[in-house]
């Protein structure tokens, strides 16, 4: 991306890919205003989304994989509920649930990534922390940028493929779509905040792949990406519904299926927002602790 001219505030932004190798954005802030920061995060999100569009073959390959998994898992669930719906969860719900989930996996980012941990490992984090932006905010912007690309590139195609073979439930009311988009937006935040926390472990143990994998597999399972929570035994379902992971997948899909309206919808948002706030706050707290123990080689 080329250098943007100084904007009307007189700041020169060079928002580039926030990822390894290339220099991160440099904001020459003579004064700092909330608006300038917002603009920075907006540019980070935009640049990340644009960067994603480069990987076309990888995107197509990913859609293929999501679609195959969608079919296999759909058929397994169909064998379970085809003849006998469980708690009102019928065949159409099952296949719709599966394909919406497959579409959401990458949007929400429930496989996690280790970009921040990698910067801790290499020491690049020291540079990052010198820069005048909010570290968590920066990565959140990148997560939302990525999600905006994945939403249409990875989210829609598997669903369409599923619709060719199965009778999928498509929300008729515009309100349901809006409610769903809001729920997914919150889900991205919750998943991001969870991943941010997991990666901060790198400050203490350097190689976070193990804990990261533990944290994300647990999240995937309890978010209902393996089996919908509706099929869980009552006790386990109750626990899973209380945890933040339900906010990452199960609850947004329920909104899509039209199971959540009125008070139910508000309960979903309340659950998502409270976990979002808690995880973001915890992430900031841990980051503050971690920064105090950063030792840079030679310094």
């Amino acid at each position: 991306m080329s250098l943007d001219p100084p904007d009307r505030h007189g700041y020169r932004h060079t928002p580039r890919s926030p990822f390894g190798g290339r220099s991160a954005a440099r904001t020459r802030t003579t004064t700092r205003s909330g608006e300038a920061h917002l603009r920075l995060y907006w540019e980070v999100a935009r640049a990340t989304a644009r960067r994603m569009t480069t990987y076309r073959a990888a995107t197509a390959a990913g859609v293929f994989t999501n679609t195959i998994f969608g079919f296999v898992l759909s058929y397994v669930l169909l064998a379970v509920v085809r003849d006998r719906p469980i708690d009102g969860f019928d065949a159409t719900d099952a296949v719709t649930f599966t394909f919406v989930t497959q579409g959401m996996l990458m949007v929400v980012g429930i496989f996690g990534n280790e970009e921040i941990a990698e910067r801790v490992r290499t020491g690049d984090i020291a540079l990052d922390l010198c820069r005048p932006y909010d570290y968590q905010g920066w990565w959140a912007a990148a997560a939302y940028g990525r999600a905006s690309f994945y939403a249409w590139a990875r989210g829609v195609p598997p669903f369409l493929a599923g619709a060719l073979v199965f009778d999928l439930r498509v929300p008729a009311a515009a309100g349901t779509w809006v409610a769903f988009v809001v729920a997914v937006t919150l889900a991205i935040g919750v998943a991001f905040a969870w991943g941010f926390l997991l990666q901060l472990a790198a400050f203490w143990i350097i190689d976070v792949r193990g804990p990261s994998q533990l944290g994300w597999v647990a999240a995937q399972f309890l978010a209902g990406t393996f089996v919908p929570l509706a099929l869980f035994p009552a006790g386990l379902e109750g626990v899973a519904r209380a945890l933040p992971f339900a906010a990452m997948n199960q609850l947004p899909v329920e909104v899509f299926l039209g199971d959540r309206t009125g008070g139910g919808l508000l309960a979903v948002y309340a659950h998502q927002l409270s976990w979002l706030a808690a995880l973001v706050a915890l992430g900031r707290l841990v980051l503050a602790r971690a920064v105090r123990k950063v030792v840079i080689q030679g310094g």
């Binding site: 073959a57 390959a61 195959i68 998994f69 296999v72 064998a79 190689d207 990261s212 994998q213």
Partner: protein
């Protein structure tokens, strides 16, 4: 296993300058010895970071555990899945998971070929007088992947005690064959799908559909699949022969698509054919290799 590994990367001078064909290629035994040495060095290296090792091992175990938990959850909701009991599906999961785990441990490093192609470091493998595939497998060997097979192995053993089978030498042999042939078939799928990287570089995820997707598919009786997908997994990508056909024979379930009962013993044939195909595809792919920057 690792049959395709004997295919030494043998590019002509026109396809990859700098890569020369060894005049006297070492035989399979020599390859195995070198491979073993590489692997031992890798294990020693990993062992230096013990906390990482165990945390990662735990992570890998949990990955397999989540798939089992999914099956467990399903069986709390129903008594049988298209006529298959819980222990029978557990057998499918265990056998499939153990095969996949073996293959994951030994063959799955081939997945990283795309990374080496992108970085140009695949050149290094070609200039050495050892088969490129062997080197690749040894280079990215990681003992922690053993976590992926421990838990399915336990499930397999437990399920064998719970299912009703007329145990005889034939049945026992079939179980062993199932696991070994399954690992070879998965290995072949890994090699073939990873070979795609020589043409497309960044399509690793396609491979995931067949490998990890295959593992999930073979953990369930394939009768659950729709007819079209069932035919594909029986005849095109021979995943059904990994666990499903032998298991159907063991538990006296009818075989799909009107296959004769003898088809349950097709594992070794399918595995051999798959290994040959993988070997040919890999050789073709390596011949196609052009280093970066050209």
């Amino acid at each position: 296993m690792g049959d395709p590994g004997t295919t030494a990367g043998a590019p002509g001078p026109t396809t990859a300058p700098g890569a020369t064909e060894p005049t006297t290629a070492p035989g399979t035994v020599a390859h195995l010895r070198i491979y073993r040495r590489f692997v031992r060095a890798r294990i020693r290296a990993d062992w230096q970071y013990r906390a990482s090792f165990f945390l990662f091992l735990a992570g890998q175990t949990l990955v397999a555990g989540a798939d089992l938990a999914a099956i467990a959850v399903i069986f709390t909701a129903v008594d049988d899945l298209v006529g298959w009991s819980g222990p029978e599906v557990a057998f499918l999961f265990g056998a499939s998971g153990l095969s996949f785990g073996l293959c994951d441990l030994i063959i799955s490093p081939v997945e990283h070929v795309g990374v080496h192609i992108k970085a140009g470091s695949f050149d290094t493998f070609l200039v050495r007088p050892v088969g490129a595939l062997w080197q690749l497998l040894a280079h990215d060997f990681a003992l922690r992947r053993i976590g992926r097979l421990l838990q399915p192995a336990i499930v397999l053993v437990v399920s064998l005690r719970l299912v009703e089978v007329d145990w005889g030498p034939a049945a026992a042999l079939l179980v062993v064959l199932t696991v070994v042939c399954g690992a070879v078939i998965y290995g072949a799928v890994f090699v073939v799908t990873s070979s795609l990287a020589f043409w497309t570089v960044e399509t690793q995820e396609i491979a995931n559909a067949f490998t990890y997707g295959g593992n999930v598919t073979t953990s369930y009786p394939i009768d659950v699949l729709g007819t079209w997908l069932r035919r594909i997994t029986t005849f095109v990508v021979p995943l059904a022969s990994i666990t499903y056909l032998p298991a159907a024979w063991l538990f006296d379930h009818p075989l799909p698509s009107g296959l004769p009962r003898a088809a349950a013993w097709s594992g070794p044939l399918v595995a051999a054919a798959a290994a040959l195909v993988a070997r040919a595809v890999w050789a073709l792919a390596v011949r196609h290799y052009r280093s970066t920057g050209s």
